[in-house]
Symmetry: C2
Subunit: 291 residues, 2 copies
C-alpha cells in the first residue's frame, strides 16, 4: 500500500512555485499578486485566510488581505469586487466563504472577473474546464489530479466511482478524470445520496473518490482488493479523550480500508494540504495567462 | 416496449411554443427573434439552416438568415458577431457549423454573447448548466431530457451509462441526468473509447445513452432486459438497395435491442427531430430572460 502524502506533495509544489517566482524576479518580471477578501471575524475563516497569505509570502508572491466589516452591505461589497476586477496590479483574488447571511454569495461569486477567479468557482471557469480550454480548476479537484499524477496512479481505462456530486468537488473531479490527459481517461461513475446499491458500485471500482461528508462511511467490505482510495471528507467528530475535544475524520474507515488499498490518502495530510498549493498554482497561472 | 417518439414529441413542443407566442402577440409583446449565420454554400448546412428558419416561421418567431461569403475573413466574421451581440432586436442567434477551414471555430464561438448563445456552446453556458443556474442547454441533451421527462422514464436512483464524452452530447447529458430535478437523480457512468469491458457496464445499466457515432455498436447481448435505450447516433451507411444510395443508422442494433428494451428511441425519428424544437425553446427562453 502506497500512502498518497499530500503534506509532502504540496510542499514540493510550493518549492516548484518558489523557484519559478525566484526566476521571475531575477528576470525583472512582475511576480504574482493574490488578494484575499475577508468579511467579518469568523475564527475558522481568519485561520484559512491567514494561512493563504503566509503561503503567498513563502513562495514570494505579493499578497493583500482586505478585511471588511461584518455589516458591509451587498452593494458595497460588489463595489469592492469591481475595484479588484479593475486593479491591474492584481493577478487573482478570492472571497473567503461563507459570507454573512445578508449577502447573496452567488451574486458575489458571479461578479468576480473569471480571469481573476483563482478559486475557479465562476461558471465561466467551470465551463472552460469542462470544454477542455485553459481554466482555473477549483483547488480540491486540482489537488486530487496532482496526487494521482505525481504518484502515477493508473487511471486510463480504469473504473472510478466518485461518491458526491457537489459543484466544487464531486462534479469537477468526475469530469477531469474522464477527460483525456494526465490522470485522465478513466471510466467515471458519479454516485450520490439517491444512488441505489452504492456498495455494488464501489466494490467494482478501481478508484474511489469519497466526497460525501459522512465520517468513515466507506468500509472495507465496500472496497475491492487493490483499489486506490481518495478521501475528501474532513469532519470534526467529538472525542473527549482528545485534548482539542474532537478529532478530524475522513469519509473512509481508514484502518480497515487501508489493508485492501493499493493507494490511499490519509486524513488529515492527504487531499487537505493540497488545496493551498493549488490556489498558489492558479495564481501563478493567472500571472502567466494575463501577461 | 414503448417507443420514445421524437417526431410526435417535438411537434407537441412546437405547438406549445406556438401557443405561447400567439399569447405574446395578443398582449402586444415583442415575439422571439432568432438569427442564423451561414458561411458559404455547403449543401447540408443550407438544409439545416433552412429547416430552422422554417420552424421559426411555423411557431411565429421573427427570424433572420445572414448568408456570408465562403471567403469571408475571420476578422470580418468577428465584426458580424459583434454587430449581432449589440443588436437589441435579436434574442438569440446561431452560427451554423462547420465553418470554412481558414476560420478558427473556437474563437468565433467564444465571441458570441452567452446571453444570445441559444446553441448553448459557450463555456459560460456550459458552466451555468453544470452549476445549476439558468442556462441555454445544447439542443441534443436538452431534447433527450424532454423525451425522458415526457414519457416518465424512471431515472431517480437508476444507473445510466452514457457511451461517449463529447462536449455537446455525452458530457452535458451525463451532468443533467445526475443533477436533481426532472429526469435527473440518476447514477451516471461516462464510458468512452478507452473504457475497459464496456459490455460489463452496459449490461448493468437501467438506461443507456449511445453517443459514439459507430453504427449498430450496441447489440442485444450488451443490454439488460427492460433497459431504456437512447440512441444519439446518426450515421449514413452506404446501401445500394436504397434509392438515395444510403440509409441512416443509429449506434444501436435496433431490431434486436428493441426486443429487450422497456423504452427505445428509433433512428431516424427519435432524438434527431427534438433538436430544432429545443433550439426554438432556448430562443423563447432568451426572450423571457432578457426582458
Amino acid at each position: 500500500m502506497i500512502l498518497l502524502d499530500g503534506k509532502t506533495t504540496s510542499q514540493q509544489i510550493k518549492e516548484e512555485i518558489k523557484e519559478t517566482v525566484s526566476k521571475m524576479k531575477s528576470h525583472g518580471e512582475k511576480v504574482p499578486h493574490l488578494a484575499a477578501v475577508l468579511v467579518g471575524n469568523d475564527g475558522a475563516s481568519l485561520t484559512y485566510v491567514g494561512s493563504k497569505v503566509r503561503s503567498c509570502e513563502y513562495v514570494g508572491f505579493d499578497s493583500t488581505l482586505i478585511r471588511l466589516d461584518e455589516n458591509i452591505s451587498e452593494e458595497a461589497l460588489l463595489e469592492q469586487i469591481d475595484t479588484l476586477n479593475k486593479d491591474n496590479a492584481l493577478d487573482g483574488y478570492i472571497v473567503q466563504l461563507p459570507l454573512p447571511k445578508h449577502i447573496n454569495e452567488e451574486k458575489i461569486l458571479l461578479a468576480i472577473d473569471p480571469k481573476k477567479d483563482v478559486d475557479g468557482f465562476h461558471p465561466a471557469n467551470f465551463g472552460r474546464m469542462a470544454l477542455e480550454l485553459d481554466a482555473f480548476i477549483p483547488a480540491t479537484p486540482y489537488g486530487i489530479m496532482q496526487l494521482l499524477e505525481r504518484y502515477n496512479v493508473p487511471t486510463s481505462g480504469k473504473h472510478c466511482v466518485v461518491v458526491g456530486r457537489s459543484h466544487i468537488v464531486g462534479r469537477p473531479i468526475s469530469i477531469l478524470m474522464s477527460q483525456k490527459g494526465a490522470a485522465g481517461n478513466a471510466t467515471v461513475t458519479v454516485a450520490h445520496s439517491r444512488t441505489e446499491n452504492l456498495a455494488d458500485l464501489t466494490r467494482q471500482a478501481d478508484i474511489i473518490v469519497m466526497a460525501l461528508g459522512i465520517p468513515e462511511y466507506l468500509t472495507a467490505d465496500m472496497v475491492k482488493e487493490g483499489a486506490a482510495i481518495i478521501d475528501v471528507g474532513i469532519t470534526r467528530v467529538e472525542d473527549d479523550k482528545h485534548p482539542k475535544g474532537y478529532v478530524i475524520k475522513g469519509d473512509v474507515a481508514y484502518d480497515e480500508v487501508a489493508q485492501k488499498a493499493s493507494y490511499i490518502t490519509p486524513v488529515p495530510g492527504g487531499v487537505g494540504p493540497m488545496t493551498i498549493a493549488m490556489l498558489l498554482k492558479n495564481t501563478l497561472l493567472a500571472r502567466q495567462w494575463n501577461k
